[in-house]
Structure formats: structure tokens, C-alpha cells
């Protein structure tokens, strides 16, 4: 880096003890004494000189628009040191666009980009949460007309092995699914892709029911699958999945709810303190499914859920600690209100049972007591509040 780029003492460098990959969850370091700091400085002196020289070379090339094999190699080297240098990623793409791609046919370009993807993969393994690397991978795939999306899906599964909630990996999965979707000709094919993704979320949830990322993705897919006119083909030998497939094909929201309600019940009985499942459960009892449902049928379903959660609440209370499970109460409080909203919308508001109103007040009171942190929220929450 050219020295004259900086003057004075201010901001010669940003002395971070925390590069972007270290912003979170790093245990406090041992305090070092002067002696070990000097040792470290001496040890690093040569590396710093190399790094700065390389960075200067690359930035000079960037500024002079030098697009050739040599500058390409320099970007590889520098990005291997520091993948956070977004300017260098941009420069690398400039070089590809201006000097590598021209003259390549589709196959040559594909072969070349395969190499580039390998380079990116090595980087991702070390920095699975670096935006710029994921971004470059996406760019490569968009450039490649022969991109192998199945391979990418397998790769994502590999990342989930390490961290099944990696935000980037989930985002990337959506991106790849969209790419595949865009390559499909018919609505049937596109919806079948979503069916496969739905099966994938089932698998992820079975592996860990606390995985909110998977529950979320499931909600998005269900929305698509239950509202399409396309007919889904059978994809796996699984009786449960076949029932889902039928429900989707019939646009049978009630049947879907029946199936998903079983999953929900099993999940809350397995781990009633798990917020992921409760949030998802709330969605099952919301306008998304009840808008066009028969008033009485919908109510009987609500009552069934209310009863089951109540039973769980009883079981939890009998626990030796005698503590209430606040999620059970929150959920039932929500159900009582949802029922009220339904009465207002499609029934007779005056027929909403009085004893449910008093139950609502009772649950509210209980919550204020056991979840005092959020007291005000409960005070604001009423059957009429929007």
C-alpha cells in the first residue's frame, strides 16, 4: 500500500482485534505482556510486509484496469489471505468479464467456472459466514449456463452438517432453488421442486425440532404448495408424505392442518420450551388457513388444539417444580383471541362464550405474573386489540 495514502496518525489503520468473522462469540483473550507482544510483532513483520506489498500490487492493477492472467493470480493470492476484501472480489470479476470470458464458448466457460467454484468452496469452508464469498459463488452460477445445481444442493447439506442454522446457507438454498425453478418449463415441475424442498424441511425438523430456519422455510413452501393448481407427482416412498401430497393436490387446507397438527403436537410434547414450534403452531391457527374455512368446523379444530395444549399445561404443572409453562398459556391466550376474531368476522360477536372471556382474563393475569419481563405487552393485549 502506498504510504502517501495516509497522513497524520489518525486512521492509519483500523486496529481491530476482531475481524468480521470474529465479531461474535469470541472468548476474551488472555492478556499478553509486552514481551510476547514484541515477539508477535517480530514474527509478523515479514508477513505484514508481504501482505501490504501484495495488496498494493492488486489495488494498483485495479486502479489501472489491468485485466490479465497475472493480475488474476494476484487476486487469488490476496483473497486467500483475506476474503473480506470486497473490492478485490469486484476486481476479480472485472478481470473475468474483460479478459477470461471473451472468446470462451459455453463449455469452456463452464469448465473455467468449475475451477472458480472450487476456489470459492475452500474459502467458504474457512469463512462460512462471509457475505462476499457467498456472493461470488452466486455470481459464478449466474454466469454459468451449464451450472450443476444438484451439486450445490449437496454442498449446502454439507454446510448444514456443521451448522444447521447458518443464515447464509439457508439463503443460498433459496437462491439455488430459485435457479432450478427458473430452469423448469412447467408449473408441475416447478411445484415438484417445492415438494422436494418440503420433504427436505421435514427431514431437517426431524433431525432437530428446534431448527426455526427449517420451520420457517416450511411455512413458505406450504403457502406455495397449497395454493397451486399443479398436480404433484409421487417422489418418495413415504406414507406420510403421500398424505401431504394428496392434501396439496386437493388444495385441502383442513387435511393439511390435520397432518401438521400431529407434527405440532408431537413437537410440543417432546419439547414444550421450544419457541420455534410454538411460533410455527401459531401460524397453523391463523388467517392463512382459516379465511375460507367453515365457521363451525374451524371452531371445533381450535377447541381441539386448545384442549391438547391445556392438557400439556396440566402435565407441566404437575412437574416437581410446579412451574407453569408460559408457552402453553401464551398459545392458548392467542387461540382464545383468534376465536374471538373469527366470531367477529364470520359469526355473531355476541355469541362468543362468556366463559372464554373470563378464561382469557385469567390466562392474561397468569402470564403477567410468570412472564413479568413482558408485562406491558399482556396489559395491552385484549380480545379487541389489533
Amino acid at each position: 500500500m502506498a504510504e502517501n495514502n495516509t497522513t497524520g496518525t489518525f486512521l492509519d489503520g483500523y486496529r481491530t482485534e476482531a475481524g468480521i468473522q470474529r465479531l461474535h462469540g469470541t472468548k476474551r483473550f488472555k492478556k499478553t505482556d509486552e514481551k510476547s507482544r514484541i515477539i508477535r510483532r517480530n514474527k509478523e513483520a515479514a508477513r505484514i510486509a508481504n501482505y501490504r506489498k501484495l495488496q498494493d500490487t492488486v489495488f494498483t492493477g485495479y486502479e489501472k484496469n489491468l485485466y490479465n492472467n497475472e493480475t488474476f493470480k494476484f487476486t487469488t493470492k490476496l483473497l486467500n489471505w483475506n476474503p473480506e476484501l470486497y473490492t478485490v472480489w469486484n476486481y476479480r470479476r472485472d478481470i473475468l468479464i474483460n479478459s477470461k470470458f471473451p472468446g470462451m464458448n459455453i463449455d469452456q466457460k463452464h469448465n473455467f467456472l468449475e475451477q472458480e467454484l472450487r476456489f470459492v468452496l475452500v474459502q467458504l469452508k474457512s469463512f462460512p459466514k462471509c457475505y462476499w464469498i457467498w456472493n461470488h459463488r452466486k455470481w459464478c452460477l449466474k454466469e454459468d449456463l451449464r451450472a450443476d445445481y444438484d451439486l450445490e444442493m449437496n454442498l449446502i447439506n454439507m454446510f448444514f452438517q456443521v451448522d444447521e442454522r447458518n443464515f447464509h446457507a439457508w439463503g443460498y438454498r433459496m437462491f439455488i432453488a430459485d435457479c432450478i425453478k427458473d430452469s423448469k418449463q412447467t408449473e408441475e415441475d416447478r411445484m415438484n421442486l417445492y415438494q422436494k424442498e418440503f420433504v427436505f424441511t421435514t427431514r431437517m425438523i426431524k433431525r432437530n425440532i428446534s431448527n426455526y430456519s427449517a420451520w420457517h422455510r416450511r411455512s413458505v413452501l406450504v403457502d406455495l404448495l397449497i395454493n397451486t393448481n399443479a398436480k404433484l407427482p409421487k417422489i418418495i416412498d413415504d406414507p406420510k408424505q403421500e398424505l401431504y401430497r394428496n392434501a396439496f393436490n386437493q388444495k385441502d387446507k383442513a387435511e393439511f392442518l390435520r397432518l401438521e397438527y400431529e407434527v405440532f403436537l408431537n413437537a410440543i410434547y417432546t419439547d414444550p420450551d421450544n419457541s420455534s414450534v410454538w411460533i410455527y403452531g401459531k401460524w397453523l391457527f391463523s388467517d392463512s388457513f382459516y379465511d375460507d374455512m367453515d365457521f363451525n368446523f374451524g371452531n371445533s379444530f381450535l377447541d381441539q388444539a386448545y384442549g391438547a395444549v391445556n392438557e400439556l399445561a396440566e402435565l407441566e404443572r404437575e412437574d416437581m417444580t410446579g412451574k407453569e409453562n408460559q408457552w402453553c398459556i401464551k398459545f392458548n391466550l392467542y387461540l382464545l383471541k383468534f376465536k374471538f376474531v373469527r366470531y367477529r368476522k364470520c359469526g355473531d360477536i355476541n355469541k362468543y362464550p362468556e366463559f372464554l372471556k373470563s378464561k382469557f382474563a385469567e390466562l392474561k393475569k397468569k402470564l403477567i405474573k410468570i412472564d413479568n419481563m413482558r408485562k406491558q405487552r399482556y396489559l395491552d393485549f385484549s380480545l379487541e386489540s389489533a
Binding site: 486512521l11 483500523y14 481491530t16 475481524g19 465479531l23 469470541t26 420457517h216 392463512s288 413482558r374
Partner: protein
């Protein structure tokens, strides 16, 4: 506040020195390798100093001349450090710091115009924004672009309306928002989306606000700290992402301030200064700022009041012209 109890006190002097120390001459390799974060770090650090009434810790001319050095002649806008390409993230940070020092006029007319057209050029047909010419789409970039234009007082209907539409598409069944339509809810995205809507005077367009409020208040964990997604560990930076949202929605009382204040203060390093993501962890300027911003929203520790929409002190944001003009 109790005396002689580090856990209860905001260590203003320590944090000031910690931040000042960050911007000295680099020593180790990792300091040299942090160019990509410099402009963001500058905003975090300087805004924290302003909140602590330590606005004189750095010489204004030094800071401003550094920012001007990060201006990208080729594309307009600002890079994260001198010689780096303009990116919307560093552009907002640069404009925020200039605004803090009331020095927007340090930009020449040409620089200002080119910066405006740089930002506008990033908007896509669906209303979203890219981060740079190769950047991906993300509600973060919508927010940064919209606030940048707000600071420059360059918002108009043709930009605002599609941006608002895009943001609304990012709301999920649970009430909160994701990076793009269909992506999982995340507290930081709640901030970028609510912030955008607030700047665009469109908060009334949010669907199901009660669900959003509940989702946000459920982020408080038993330890008092806030997390960013269900079933994740609490982290000081969500004191900002979550609290700013609750503040925008006027529901700050939906969490327990007292235990959150304690959580943030316990994450301070009483030896070196600085705040970490969790008590006992290593500090950085990012969490130092966001911890302080959280305290400011809760009116703790004699800090300047921060504006939940802009992430700047309210005495600064009151000079920003509010949309619609």
C-alpha cells in the same frame, strides 16, 4: 447507579480510550487486514463517542479528510477505506459520520451528485437495492440506500414507493422480516425494514403489527439479553436491532429494561474498555456502539439520546428533512 460496582456503571472513560486506541497506527497483521471494515468501524466508534459526549476525542478535520479520501472517483460513493470501491454500506457510514460533524458540505458538488446517482443506480426494478455493482439484494441495502438519500435529502416518490413495496414483501408469517421475500425472520432485518418504512413515512402499511411486536419482545431471554432469532444465544448487538424496532413501534416497554441494562453492562471489559457480544467475551467496536445505543434508547447512563430510525443522535437527526418533503 451504585458506586464502585463495575457491573452497574457505564465505563465512559475506558470506552473512550478503547475507541481512540482502535484508530491508531496498525501494529499487527490483522490490523492491516481490516480495511474492509474501516468505514463502518468509524461510524460505530465516532457515534459511540458522540453518545458519550466525547465528540472532541478526534479532530474533526482528521476524520473528515479521511472520509473524503475514501470517496470513489470512478463510481461515486464511498469505499470502506482509501482505494476501495464504493459500496452502499460504507457510503452510508461515511454520510452518517459527515452528518455527525455537520460536514456534508465537505463534499464537492460533483462528489455529492455522483454519490446520489451511485445510490440511485443500485435500485432494481422490484424496488430493492444492490450493495454495489455486483452486490446481492438484501433489505440491508434498501435501508442503507434510503437513509443515505434521506441524509442527502434526495428521496422522491419514484424511489420510495417501490422500495416500500419490496420491504412489505419481506414480512413473514411470524410478523417479522427477512433479507429478501421468503427468507427467515431476523431481528436485524426487522430494523432495516422498519427503519426504511419509518424514513419513508409508511409505518402504517405494516400488516399484523401485534405479531411483530410479540416476535420482537420474545427476543428477550432469561438472562436479560436479546437474541436475533428464536432459539439462539443472546447478544449485545440486538440491544440495538430489537430495541430500535420496539422504539419505532413505541413499544419499548414490551421488554424488561432493567435486566437488559445489566446484561449490557456486564459485557463491558472493565480493564481495557469496550463491550462484547456477551459477558466474558472479547470486545469490539461494533458491540461497543450497539450496546451503548441500546442503553441510550433506555435512557441509561447519561448518554445522548439516539434516534431509533437513523442510528444517530436525535439532535443530529432533527436537522434531516423528513419525507414526504
Amino acid at each position: 447507579m451504585n458506586e464502585h460496582n463495575d457491573d452497574e456503571l457505564l465505563l465512559v472513560e475506558k470506552h473512550t480510550n478503547y475507541i481512540k486506541d482502535l484508530f491508531r497506527k496498525p501494529v499487527y497483521l490483522e490490523h492491516w487486514m481490516a480495511d474492509h471494515l474501516k468505514m463502518n468501524a468509524l461510524y460505530w466508534g465516532i457515534c459511540a463517542l458522540f453518545l458519550m459526549h466525547q465528540e472532541d476525542a478526534f479532530k474533526k478535520e482528521d476524520v473528515v479528510s479521511f472520509i473524503i479520501k475514501c470517496y470513489d472517483n470512478k463510481y461515486g460513493g464511498f469505499g470502506s477505506a482509501p482505494r476501495h470501491e464504493a459500496h452502499i454500506l460504507s457510503t452510508l457510514s461515511a454520510l452518517q459520520v459527515l452528518k455527525l460533524y455537520d460536514s456534508l458540505d465537505a463534499l464537492s458538488k460533483e462528489q455529492k451528485d455522483k454519490t446520489i446517482s451511485f445510490i440511485k443506480s443500485l435500485q432494481l426494478s422490484d424496488g430493492s437495492f444492490e450493495g454495489d455493482r455486483f452486490g446481492e439484494v438484501d433489505t440491508r441495502f434498501v435501508y442503507t440506500a434510503i437513509q443515505s438519500l434521506a441524509i442527502l435529502e434526495e428521496l422522491d416518490k419514484s424511489i420510495v414507493d417501490p422500495a416500500v413495496d419490496f420491504i412489505l414483501k419481506c414480512q413473514n408469517f411470524d410478523g417479522c422480516f427477512g433479507m429478501v421475500p421468503g427468507a427467515e425472520s431476523h431481528a436485524a432485518q426487522a430494523f432495516t425494514c422498519l427503519g426504511t418504512l419509518a424514513i419513508c413515512n409508511s409505518l402504517n402499511k405494516i400488516k399484523n403489527p401485534e405479531a411483530l411486536e410479540w416476535w420482537l419482545s420474545d427476543r428477550q431471554t432469561a438472562s436479560g439479553g436479546l437474541n436475533g432469532r428464536p432459539e439462539k444465544l443472546p447478544d449485545v448487538c440486538y440491544s440495538w436491532w430489537v430495541l430500535s424496532c420496539l422504539s419505532i413501534l413505541k413499544k419499548l416497554d414490551y421488554i424488561d429494561a432493567e435486566s437488559l441494562v445489566k446484561f449490557i453492562l456486564r459485557a463491558q471489559n472493565s480493564e481495557t474498555g469496550g463491550i462484547a457480544d456477551r459477558p466474558g467475551n472479547e470486545c469490539d467496536v461494533y458491540h461497543t456502539f450497539f450496546g451503548m445505543a441500546g442503553l441510550s434508547l433506555m435512557k441509561k447512563g447519561d448518554l445522548l439520546l439516539i434516534d431509533p430510525i437513523y442510528g444517530l443522535p436525535t439532535n443530529v437527526t432533527k436537522t434531516i428533512k423528513k419525507y414526504p418533503y
